[in-house]
Chain length 648, copies 2
């Protein structure tokens, strides 16, 4: 049964147990699930004594392979819901001994074939024995090419020696992530190859651990040896372990308890968490690993409830969306509806407008001077409302022009103005701001044309067009904005882009709620635009070269692309943005943007990453190009905007 409940989390979390070989599968299942409360077993499928090279001599071809039970001993749904197949741990495909290699390949293929026959959801592949894993990877890669839906979990110990300097010349593997990386590169990022992490008693640095959250980790195996003992004699985990497990829960990673009971509980003790009321647990012998399961359940249940906004956005996690083309396309009502609900954003706008109004008109002249404010891209009116509220709040007199190019939104604007009785203050202009012939000049120009990457919805081009009707000393809100990027590991996003099997999708930027992602370095600013664009109208083309230093305790890392954000100065100290360190809290209008790389870039521990971003402008479109020049050269992505562009 699932690990209790966490308030607001719809997905359940499960906990399994790793078992020894037992050819009585029903007994094994009943002992581990019904009586102990585990959700699934990670069970050895084949007698560990089996070696194909010995069999051939003995059996004469008539014998069945020594699997644990036939497919009939459990129901199909029991096999597929409750059993993860554990591949024989003795196999060593990169052994120097050719017979061992051959035996290993035969056994691996037989066991996977058996597991497929049983429709298991996953098999656990043993950790590669040495630092070299090419033949193992070749064999697994062959299997993956013809596999049904089964996942293969490669077991990787969570291991990294942080003091790399000592081992720099030795052949000892100091970072198990590199072993995983070699294996998956050889298997070409296959989406059915994922990871089961062996959590050991000591943990690598936080930066090093962080990398795994950008990888396809499906299970975390916690050995009973990794548990501490609390004052009452019960198993518990260190603070760092607890934090890690919480991270696993947040990333839908299943927990597996492994090993022998190493905590002897005080007699007659009750369960730490009392939500397990199995009828069988009284009579049958208590499962020795039950206290560990209880502790894991306790960790899950005491997690903070998911905030409402996060809960709402669960379905968007790591889901690639094409950015809007608000200039070429008209937004739909639903889109306006969603964005208008973002109260925080409009509060910031209102604060900025208040300050601008106060700067524009001193208190003593508030009743005589009328400020001309133009909302360019008024949509269905939220900024008109914010402007009028700011005028009211500051006691300034206001004349508002609401300029909107979408005739459908203009309909709503008209009814809003009528409904609110704003007819004397607000003039609605159904026109593209770039072509409007304004009857007078504005003191304040207010717009919300920003995309996830700031300028990516062509705010600069629109505002340059609107600048004609802003007074020379007029104010633009926003007054400036800057885009930011950072390199990320994002194997899920990479695989989702790769599914399309073309270059176009690898040269497109996506709007995405980043979750299964490792942020490898602090963000850096890319392009800045300032409004009004003066004194001479500066070109909106931009070029930026950036150098990212990945913290040395991270170890080596794989860069699948760049996460992009923006921060905008609305007016003076009032800002708005999604750059992680400075993000405006509780604002939900923007997810991040993701610029993929056609070939993931491996960055060696301690080395830096050099990347170039261009913003290019043509007569009918604007586009980005990007490319990596260190540690290796990627092709320039999206040359001439061939794959992705924003229409003018």
């Amino acid at each position: 049964m699932p690990l209790g409940e966490r308030s607001g989390d719809k997905e359940s979390r499960y906990c399994g147990v790793e078992t020894e070989f037992n050819d009585d599968m029903p007994q094994l299942l009943s002992h581990s699930l019904s009586s102990a409360g585990f959700d699934f077993v990670v069970a050895t499928l084949m007698d560990p004594a089996y070696r194909p090279s010995l069999m051939q001599k003995d059996s004469g071809g008539s014998g069945a392979l020594p699997f644990a039970g036939s497919d009939l001993v459990l129901s199909p749904s029991q096999w597929s819901s409750h059993v993860v197949g554990k591949i024989s741990s003795w196999i060593d495909l990169d052994s120097d001994d050719e017979i061992v290699r051959m035996d290993s390949e035969t056994t691996l293929k037989q066991e996977i074939a058996w597991a497929s026959h049983l429709s298991l959801q996953a098999c656990l592949l043993p950790t590669p024995k040495g630092t070299s894993c090419a033949n193992y990877a070749r064999c697994v890669n062959q299997i993956l090419q013809g596999l049904n839906n089964m996942q293969l979990w490669l077991r990787i110990p969570l291991l990294k020696t942080d003091d790399d300097s000592m081992d720099v010349d030795s052949n000892n593997l100091v970072d198990s992530w590199e072993l995983w990386n070699s294996f998956r590169m050889l298997c070409e990022h296959h989406s059915q190859l994922s990871i089961a992490l062996d959590v050991l008693s000591s943990l690598p640095s936080t930066n090093s651990l962080g990398r795994w959250f950008g990888e396809s980790v499906r299970a975390a195996i916690i050995n009973t040896d990794s548990f501490l003992t609390n004052a009452r004699g019960y198993p518990c985990l260190s603070k760092r372990h607890q934090k890690l497990i919480t991270g696993f829960f947040n990333h839908a990673i299943q927990i597996v308890i492994s090993g022998k009971q190493v905590h002897s509980l005080p007699k007659g003790s009750t369960d730490l968490a009392s939500n397990h009321n199995d009828s069988s647990s009284d009579g049958a012998q208590r499962h020795p690993l039950r206290p560990y399961l209880d502790y894991v359940g306790f960790l899950y249940q005491r997690m903070d409830p998911l905030p409402e906004q996060e809960r709402f956005e669960l379905g968007y996690r790591d889901f690639l969306q094409s950015p809007l083309q608000p200039l070429m396309d008209n937004l739909e009502a639903q889109t306006y509806e969603t964005f208008e609900k973002d109260a925080v954003k409009y509060i910031q706008y209102q604060r900025a407008i208040c300050k601008a109004l106060q700067d524009r008109v001193p208190d003593e002249k508030a009743s005589v001077i009328t400020t001309v404010l133009m909302v360019v891209g008024a949509g269905r009116g939220p900024l008109v409302r914010a402007s009028l509220q700011a005028a009211e709040e500051t006691g300034r007199k206001l004349k508002v022009f609401a300029v909107e190019k979408n005739p459908n939104a203009v309909v709503t604007l008209h009814s809003l103005v009528k409904l609110e009785g704003w007819e004397s203050i607000v003039t609605i202009v159904s026109c593209d701001m770039r072509h409007w012939d304004a009857p007078e000049k504005a003191d304040i120009l207010v717009s919300e044309l920003l995309g996830s990457f700031g300028d990516n919805e062509l705010s600069p081009e629109c505002l340059d067009g609107a600048q004609r009707f802003l007074k020379d000393d007029g104010i633009s809100i926003p007054s400036s904005y800057t885009s930011f990027i950072q390199p990320v590991t994002a194997s899920k996003l990479y695989n989702d882009v790769k599914l399309h099997k073309d270059v176009v999708h690898f040269e497109t930027a996506y709007v995405v709620k980043l979750h299964n992602v490792a942020r490898l370095a602090p963000t850096q600013p890319v392009f800045t635009f300032t409004h009004p664009n003066q004194p001479t109208m500066k070109s909106n083309q931009r070029y930026k070269k950036l150098q990212f230093e990945i913290p040395s305790d991270t170890g080596s890392a794989m860069v699948h692309g760049f996460a992009g954000y923006f921060d905008a100065t609305l007016y003076k100290d009032v800002h708005l943005g999604i750059e992680p360190l400075t993000a405006t809290p509780n604002m939900f209008s923007w997810f991040a943007i993701f610029f993929p790389l056609r070939t993931p870039v491996f960055v060696c521990a301690g080395s830096s990453l050099e990347v170039h971003f261009w913003r290019c402008c043509g007569p009918t479109k604007v586009w980005y190009e990007w490319g990596v020049t260190s540690p290796c050269q990627s092709p320039i992505h999206n040359s001439n905007g061939r794959s992705y562009w924003v229409g003018l």
Copy 2:
């Protein structure tokens, strides 16, 4: 006019001259071509004083760009045959100064547009100014996307500091190949981006130079400063320079003379080479660079004539062919015809058979013992003939079975036997050797089933099948064979494979006459097969891990794939093969094989390359898989033989 003639070479070689800006193009052309004998000029297209940022203020939009002449001053064919456009050398797209960057981009695009308008064959792009060239590459890459047939020659000085250790921490570029490599990687190996090498007075090491022969070098620019002076006061080149120029001629690389006259010739001297009889040269002023052209012509004319075999194979150079499937398909008569002409091969076979016959039957029993020899895969009979000649040469008595599965070849065999009167000695068997029920066992089994990679035409599987009818102490000719590989730079082959835009072609091995290729390390053996395959029939699956050390004076290099060869021991010391160091001279039956890499692998100076090759066997096919694991991990190529296989 072309550089005289070299015996047997059908292609002409040309020599051009780099000129200063001159807006009288007809005069420039007449001076350089008609009166001096150069074949083309590398001419600056735009007034060097031009800067777009200055123009805008001055001209007011009405002025024409300051190009050298209008398109009408030369005929279209003069433009396209005799002029290479030289792009303004001041441009610097990676300048820190934004105005310089913008001016450079504008000018570059204007000049390329002009050169395209004139249908020039090529433009010479100036050397990147610093070590960083990303913005330059981005701009050139944009141009390449929409370019007509014009080539862009990036000018690269032939420069490499061999003592890397001193500069390891500095930012000084010590290897101009790396600059080229960065640039072309950013431009994604575009086939219209090629190289013009600036040959300087001192040359890098031979290994370092060798890399360029795997790249797309179109021109070599030799500055007059690089010439020495011979005893008679004439310009000449050092031995190493001469060898390099000869190499350029062999690779159809055009020569360009650049610079000022630095050799003042003795008065009244005659031409070193007297093949230039221009009528205009008496009256007009003699071109100051004529002696350099004469010397280059002299170097070309004194080259050894191309051997007949090489001449025959000219058309096959760097041309990708799919390997034969001789087991699944029957060869055509033309193919037999070609292979039978390879006298050297059959002489080696005859020598091997002689030795085997002598070992089998001592001289004193020559007249009483009849040796049973089976030719398996007899084709149209060349090995039958070689066997009978060996019997005659050694005075041994022979009984021959000629086994052939191709019924069309069997027709020819029958008529051959009748024609030669061999009916009493030779029995023809129309059957696949793997299924033949032989009436007796053979003393000697002779076959020629080898492909360019040895076992790649399934010789092991065929001979394992034929082994049933070989006596226990019988001899197989060949008795063993080994495949070899070495990493190569082969940008032309890479681009030809890439043209197909699919994975299949990158996972196929090709038979190819390697020419435009740099061999980066000595070959290493891969798979060995021995016949008879005893005592227990060993599996024909193989796995080999290889580590290549690229000589440190080579510098960094790009690996586009692996060249493959074989060497076979026919019998005892008689061998046959195409492995470059030990290749049988004057044998033409086999070109090399080429295993491409889906993504070229960059190997840093002094580091090694680790590669894995597998020979995999299934019930109906045999295939190779391959992959690189160091310095980075490639995907495993051709998993399960999905792209390339040989049918059983």
